[in-house]
Symmetry: C2
Subunit: 217 residues, 2 copies
Amino acid sequence: MEEKEISQAVVSRLPRYFRYLGELKDEGIERVSSQELSDIMRVTASQIRQDLNNFGGFGQQGYGYNVGYLYDEIGKILGLHKEHNLIIVGAGHLGQALVNYMNFERRGFMFRGIFDQDTRLHGMQIRELTVQPMQEIEQFVRANNIDIAVLTIPKASAVEVAEQLVSYGIKGFWNFAHVDLHVPDDIQVENVHLSDSLMKLSYNLASHSGLTKLSTN
Amino acid sequence: MEEKEISQAVVSRLPRYFRYLGELKDEGIERVSSQELSDIMRVTASQIRQDLNNFGGFGQQGYGYNVGYLYDEIGKILGLHKEHNLIIVGAGHLGQALVNYMNFERRGFMFRGIFDQDTRLHGMQIRELTVQPMQEIEQFVRANNIDIAVLTIPKASAVEVAEQLVSYGIKGFWNFAHVDLHVPDDIQVENVHLSDSLMKLSYNLASHSGLTKLSTN
């Protein structure tokens, strides 16, 4: 694949294409036109063509897209052909919920270990994982080729823990702590700030209720 | 407050301002310049001035921003001065984790009920809530002035359940199901698609690893 500049806006839409194509594939559908894809995804056909053109000519005039091929190609672009080894830092309710959600593993995101500083949780079994003390992280990360750390710890400790994890070789963070991490530029961070998301919902509810008269674009 | 057009991009940044101002407030800091705010938030001072100007003149030349006042005003803009009544549909690991996360209630998002179709979960206690059967939802939503439904159910049932909930009077969805809901335009939906988020992280890891040569803007 040749070098290209892909905007984060396009990148953000790729998982949604991947999801819809996966569903078509599961239904046994072999080809789809950009107009059909447009109807089910509720975005314009021209947006679809434009997005997918970023990655070369997947579509053929008069034929449309080959579902299985496009699905596989987008999967490769998203890096899903490669397995990732993850640890979870923070074995509270959210950390446990993530380990128990099997769908991530179907996509190659393999949870290899879970850690917590709370001694009462040590030894607890969550599916096939055993909660380990924080002191074990460094050796574990180095020994098991861990590339992603999932942070489900309080924000007070997240920044410091992230810095340590970078020094152990972690390349990416899936950060649920409600704080911005400070990591070098070559380290990738994807934030899931649940409170922010709920506040956006609250804003949109308020601005459409007629109580406050703000309206959105 | 007068009528204004606020872009969703600005709206998306408001919770982050709110978070940083809350931290300054907790530290007892009473005023902050846009330059200081810029340094800690790592966005440009001009971006901050521009964003906050959407909501009127919070800042004063030579003084900066009054932290407490700005915090309160952004809270109001976000609709946080008003309590929301929420139900959770789906009492699995994720639903339980959300109920157990107390910080949402501090912001006025009150979990009033939790429902599941799995009879084995009925009667289970999660903090002060008891898991109820799905058949109870309609009466509960109408009787308890519920405005937000949190969907932590599999995607197969989410679309249909959302349609029913709209007919019961639900105004907003916090949707964790990995599917796009089809609801009327006056109903607000905030999606948390965890798999999509993880795929974005995977893309950014792949595009920076030098293995694939895609690079991001």
